[in-house]
Symmetry: C2
Subunit: 612 residues, 2 copies
């Protein structure tokens, strides 16, 4: 299959996609936030982007929504513009809204000066003589104006005699907080890189930044190779705790993968990985434990206790990262065993809790992390949604990959769907499942209790009868294409979805209750993470996953966890804000919350359908 490379200029993100894939689909895959309230149907005209390169000609929908002048300047609709080869995409600057953008622009929008912890100083030292016999180290520290407190590792000390003399006593000192992180011969101040790392249960992301300018200079995304030892957090913990050498296996495989990604991303930016002097990593607590080689075994069962939850700040080489020998790796604090550094990063990037408005942040996945910013500060919980939204335990479920159905919608008397890359449909991913639930509810084919019943189809949707097949054991099966055995949904799939959606909405409602906030007070909902990227807000609301708010108030903020990590990397003040946020955040343990069971059972029901 021939591929096209879709590059997003402002963020540096990119995706390799099959030819014919739309820019919007590429954006979803790259984690690039693009507004698309209608879910890619070409209806709202809000997914405007400027495209350069090898794109297919404008579609009729675009001719309708865009002026000739706009088209002349390269404007397209992301949901319509297909990549016929490599393209470069410029998304509209969205900083004004304050809720998304590059980490640098996010910092700027909040008045935080980019000032990373790591600094480089070129020092022209006086050469030693019998009248100046100071040691190499004293010479450097004195030139830095630093006192006694400077901490120096043996590794750095080993490099001193060589570095000072190779550079003719012109050296570059790298300091990091109160530490002398490196001393390099000559003037190396032009190279000062750092890396933001998101260790997702499913996906690893690495962004390398030039710390002097705040520019992202390279990035990599890959499947977390731990996946082969279990798809979700629970099975990874089991593997780590119960298998001989399991913890070390999981640790090593992810560190090796990250090293490859760091190397690639740095080299793309023209920097040796040894030029990376600081790493900020985020991930859920289990991922962070595995990254550090710390057993997460007590996270799996009640009372769910991690080994550590405060901020981590250790030598990167202790973790095994192949970056500058003096580099450190930091992880923002976690709030509980399931609300971790990734959530703190996302809160930082989304900027919730700043305006005094009530806001929600939801990162859906096997565990959905939910943060409510209310009048009394922030509170978080983690809802065990199970893997249905990631395609598992659904008859034709699949991850978001080429051929996966990403959207399903009823349009002009027909059932339509869109697959990633425009390929033949191979399965339903989370967003399509949610769409299908919403649309079948609308059509009347799923009742409030979740029963799948074509007999109850509302008049104008009677044509959907052709998509139903009676199963052998009784019950109905809903096929995406009438008369086709290909992709379908069963009654069991609906039940799985109900469990997932009830977990999430119950988590949200529990937080609202706990914080005494009414659903209608919610001013905005931020969706973070990969699943959020392709979600149609209306479907999520109609299927009962999100509370009944104005769909326009739902914003996708991309891989906000990674953006938050990058903000911490670029600004010490942002890091302190992250630490501070975690320290103040309340945490609601759902399994220990009295009203949980009752509310969960009630939420298995679908909300009443709305007339659109």
């Amino acid at each position: 299959m021939r591929k096209a490379r879709v590059f997003f200029q402002l963020s540096g993100r990119e995706a390799e996609v099959p030819l014919g894939c739309t820019v919007l689909e590429a954006a979803w895959r790259a984690g690039e936030p693009v507004d698309s309230p209608c879910g890619g149907r070409g209806k709202c005209g809000k997914c405007r982007v400027r495209v350069k390169g090898d794109a297919a000609p404008a579609t009729p929908r675009e001719l309708e929504k865009l002026t000739a002048g706009e088209m002349g300047r390269g404007w397209r609709l992301a949901c319509q513009a297909e990549a016929a080869g490599d393209v470069s995409v410029r998304t509209p600057a969205r900083v004004s809204g304050g809720e998304s953008g590059t980490p640098r622009s996010l910092l700027r929008a909040r008045g935080i000066k980019p000032a990373p912890r790591v600094e480089k100083t070129f020092l022209k030292l006086r050469a030693p003589s019998l009248r100046s016999q100071k040691s190499d180290l004293e010479r450097v520290i004195e030139a830095l104006g630093g006192g006694d407190g400077m901490e120096v590792s043996l590794d750095v000390m080993k490099t001193l005699p060589g570095a000072l003399r190779a550079g003719g006593f012109g050296v570059t000192a790298v300091t990091c907080g109160g530490r002398l992180a490196a001393v390099e011969p000559g003037d190396t101040t032009p190279v000062l890189a750092g890396a933001a790392v998101d260790v997702g249960t499913t996906t690893l992301s690495v962004s390398v930044y030039d710390l002097r300018t705040g520019d992202m200079i390279g990035g990599r995304t890959a499947i977390n190779p731990q996946e082969r030892y279990g798809a979700d957090v629970a099975s990874r913990i089991f593997f780590a705790a119960e298998r001989e050498g399991g913890l070390e296996t999981l640790r090593k495989i992810v560190v090796d993968a990250l090293n490859g990604m760091l190397n690639g991303a740095a080299r793309d930016g023209g920097v040796d990985p040894g030029g990376i002097y600081e790493v900020v990593a985020v991930g859920n607590p289990t991922m962070m434990h595995l990254l550090g080689g710390v057993s997460p075994e007590n996270i799996a069962a009640a009372p769910y206790v991690p080994a550590f939850s405060g901020a981590l700040d250790v030598p990167a080489r202790d973790v095994g990262l192949e970056v500058s020998p003096g580099a450190r790796i930091r992880v923002p604090p976690a709030v509980s065993a399931y609300v971790g550094a990734d959530t703190i990063g996302a809160v930082l990037a989304a900027g919730i809790g700043r305006g005094g408005e009530c806001e929600l942040l939801v990162d859906m996945g096997t565990n959905a992390e939910i943060v409510l910013s209310g009048r009394g500060g922030m509170a978080a919980c983690s809802a065990a949604a199970g893997p249905a939204l990631e395609g598992a335990q659904i008859s034709c479920g699949t991850r978001a990959k080429p051929g996966a159905v990403q959207h399903v919608f009823l349009d002009a008397g027909a059932l339509r769907y869109a697959t990633i890359g425009g390929l033949a449909p191979s399965g339903l991913c989370g967003s399509a499942l949610m769409d299908a639930m919403a649309e079948l509810r609308l059509a009347g084919a799923i009742d409030g209790g979740g029963r799948l019943d074509p007999a109850r189809l509302r008049g104008e949707y009677a044509f959907l009868k052709r998509n139903f097949v009676r199963e052998k054991g009784g019950g109905e099966r809903f096929a995406l294409r009438a008369g086709s055995e290909g992709v379908f949904l069963t009654q069991g799939d609906v039940r799985q979805f109900q469990l997932a959606k009830s977990a999430i909405i119950t988590g949200i409602q529990a937080l609202l209750k706990k914080e005494r906030v009414r659903a209608r007070e919610i001013g905005r909902i931020y969706l973070a993470g990969l699943l959020g990227s392709s979600l149609r807000a209306e479907s999520a609301i109609e299927a009962g996953v999100l509370p009944d708010v104005d769909a326009e108030g739902v914003k996708y903020v991309g891989n906000a966890a990674l953006d938050g990590a990058a903000m911490c990397l670029l600004s010490e003040r942002a890091w302190r804000r992250a630490v501070d946020t975690a320290g103040k955040m309340k945490c609601l343990e759902l399994s220990g919350w009295r009203g949980f069971q009752e509310l969960f059972v009630k939420n298995l029901e679908f909300p009443p359908y709305r007339v659109r």
Copy 2:
């Protein structure tokens, strides 16, 4: 050869010696300070010790010096009492003098409370529950009453889940400054050991202490295995700098040796080496560089610049020491490339510079370190004495080992000598060389310029003529035993000695001049180190190695460097005093000092002989 073990009760030092070896000789070998102003001749009666175990019967000299009552209580003269098997020796308490004793008694004598940096606290933690989901680390830190600042390594974090649960949430926290060094299941407070290490160019010494009581619980002494790559500092530096992998070879061999010694010493004390939570090491700057794997190459040539000279405080595992994973190793600061942590340790242990009196500390060796405490604070220098005093470059020179002649003296119209272990003489060690120079000067056989000439023997020493043999190339040779070819001295040996003694006395005089102190103002001279242990003060003064002071004012302080390290280990205040001392100490670089050459040439001359 059958061996006897001589154990010194108060210090824990011990030596394995050939049967028939005197207790004084064993003390010299173990580095145990025993007063012996007459150099072991049985004349002064000052080397009284109490001996238990398998000692040979009292000698006539002892019957003369000791009362029957004293002998009944076990008192012997150390220079007369021979080990016929294993013996245990109790040296008189010498704390009153303030200048020697065990590290603990030295601290006590100076009013410094033993309070090591490492502490253990047993914590009875509340078990986690859904109402108390704090992470393991938070739980420990909170119980310690510690705030945010506590530093924790990944290694310690890895042990947390296991430790807390193995101990039923009863754990022992080990803290070291602001660090959490370890968390152990159950109550392990009874085990809290630390190690003092002296990395000598020639000899390695390790003492393991119970940090709760200040008791030494085990010790080991061994030859520095780096010796095979060069006897002195200069040749080690050459090997490290010029040979492929030389630095790593030297590093590894000494670390391996120290690990063996730490293990042995700890186990002797009933402790696993993992129960050692802190190490304080001393040694000259080259040894400390090699221990840390830091290249000492720039120490060898002018302007003599070490890579580091400040205090070192790094994880012990970074050095490769197999002690507690959270343990740290500290090295007191150095003053220059040749005046190092060992000198600072010796100054601390000897306690010079406290009374306002002018005092000298001299540690003789290939490089002699000299510290003068004058009215204007302390000043130090290092004198390149060369290896003559360690037996090298002397025709029949040898190290202090069984059979080595340790003392030579003229007594009752005869030339007598004493060998280590009473064996047949195999060579002359440094103290014997110094004795021989002093006695031959006294007898008139060496003139002021150092010419060896039997024709000038004074009347009462004419019997020594039999010991002289005319050499083939002219010149005279002085044989220890008349008519024997065995152990002898040549004119060349005298010249080598002159170079060595001139270097040392010139260093002392340079410091005196620089600090405007007259030789007669010196109240006391402390001799530290192995060579000092067997030195006869009179010989050192008469041969011109030490300035002309009252020999009673010369005190041997044993392995003061090691004792100083132990003091730092036992008391954080002592450590700070060591750091402070180094910071204030002036350093005189002899090679850069104007008057050096002139004074050095002048000091090649012997001082006028004194009538005894």
